[in-house]
């Protein structure tokens, strides 16, 4: 007997999640690849509360069940996220797939996930007993291992509004549409009064989790562009050590050199 649940209310969904061992179904585009007759799904795709895109003073708040198409056409969404979404799959998939699904699938290849990493976005998790906000970096414990409790649902993704306009994004796929990332890279360099206020990079599809190393990027912070040039070699060497690609559809060596080239291009684009 199949026990799948359909609801249009978040309260109801949280109640079900609290007591039943269900798999949340947002857009279905990952789950249906291995459609399972016996699975117990909790259908979330028609819960209006999970599809809102709003803003507060600090963040753009994206409902976890917003589809890529909804994200792409919404005026509040920052361009860096739109750039990643426009290259993701194809229109019919973008009409179903959701940002929350991308995050909770737990893959290091998630194209929107990379953007949430580089922007240090927060995840809003909710359960019947309360809510919590955690940085996406803390949510990913390992490949397909996520810091979400059995009774929780991801309800929102909070993308910081400020300091993300000067970005760099590249996805390397085998073709223009319907392509899984072989390597993806995003970088943000925010400068103020001639000094680097924030430097953030993220590498997708290279290891079990998106590589995001604020401890290395820290080197750049507070420096002028000239000073940054001076420590460039040290910075690149630190990433050279930090990036240990796993072999996937393409060789580890290929992934590594693509990462290095993209990082270098990101710096050069910014005059470093």
């Amino acid at each position: 007997m199949v026990n799948s649940y359909f609801t249009t209310s978040l309260d109801e969904a949280l109640k079900i999640k609290n007591t039943k061992p269900v798999t949340p179904y947002a857009g279905g585009t990952d789950l249906m690849i291995e459609a399972d007759d016996q699975a117990s799904y909790l259908f979330l795709n028609k819960i209006a509360e999970l599809k809102q895109i709003t803003e507060d003073e600090e963040y753009i708040r994206i409902g976890a069940c917003s589809t890529y198409s909804e994200v792409l056409h919404h005026k509040l969404i920052p361009q860096i996220l739109k750039d990643a979404v426009i290259e993701l799959a194809a229109p019919a998939i973008r009409n179903l797939g959701t940002v929350g699904g991308n995050v909770c699938n737990g893959s290091p290849k998630g194209d929107s996930v990379l953007i949430f990493f580089v922007t240090d976005s927060l995840l809003h998790l909710q359960s019947m007993s309360g809510e919590r906000f955690i940085p996406i970096k803390e949510f990913y414990l390992g490949r397909k291992k996520l810091a979400i409790r059995e009774d929780e649902l991801l309800v929102e993704i909070l993308v910081p509004k400020n300091g993300i306009d000067n970005y760099y994004y590249k996805k390397i796929g085998a073709r223009n549409a319907l392509a899984i990332s072989r390597v993806s890279f995003a970088g943000i360099l925010d400068t103020e009064d001639g000094r680097i206020k924030n430097c953030a990079t993220a590498f997708g599809a290279v290891s079990d989790v998106v590589v995001r190393r604020p401890d290395i990027d820290q080197m750049m912070i507070g420096k002028t562009i000239d000073e940054a040039k001076g420590i460039k070699e040290k910075y690149l060497a630190a990433y050279d050590e930090a990036i240990v690609p796993i072999r996937g559809r393409v060789s580890a060596e290929y992934r590594k050199s693509v990462c290095q080239n993209l990082l270098q291009d990101f710096l050069e684009t910014n005059g470093i």
Partner: protein, 155 residues
């Protein structure tokens, strides 16, 4: 029991909620226009229009469409817009084996409904999820351009 609108008519299905919309359309409703090419959202042969948006019906579980509106190529074929597209596809020989065409036509419809005057790049993006192994796409792109031009006012 799942209730939804299929090609303009209210229908109910007793399908397992985890079943693919594609399989239910073909097996229960005997609507075989949507084709099964890959079952993983890679080919677009199973495209239908769900709540006014193009989707791969192999990626849709029945339990997610309660109250939704589904339009398949069979329903669409009764429209004037279909006639226009069909003629344009035929005029430039945009169809060879035909397997991708139901999906391709629905992708064309969704594009023109949103953007009645698409340029070539926009057309190629709109059909980027619909694979065709026969034509090399150029004739299909041309057909959509012709339909947009000759069908002015329809979209």
């Amino acid at each position: 029991m799942i209730k939804f609108i299929l090609n303009g008519e209210e229908v109910t299905s007793n399908a397992n909620p985890n079943e693919r919309l594609l399989d239910v359309l073909r097996n229960e409703f005997r609507l075989t226009g949507a084709k099964c090419g890959c079952k993983e959202g890679e080919c677009g042969a199973c495209s239908v229009i769900l709540d006014n948006r193009l989707v791969n019906s192999c990626m849709v579980a029945m339990g997610s469409i309660e109250g939704s509106t589904v339009l398949t190529i069979e329903g669409y074929s009764k429209t004037e817009r279909f006639e226009m597209l069909s003629k344009a596809y035929a005029d430039v020989s945009a169809v060879q084996c035909g397997f991708c065409i139901p999906g391709m036509m629905l992708a064309s419809e969704c594009l023109l409904a949103e953007n009645p005057n698409p340029d070539e790049e926009e057309i190629r993006r709109a059909i980027s999820g619909n694979l065709c192994r026969c034509t090399g796409y150029n004739a299909i792109v041309k057909a959509i351009q012709i339909a947009a031009k000759e069908g002015k006012g329809l979209w």
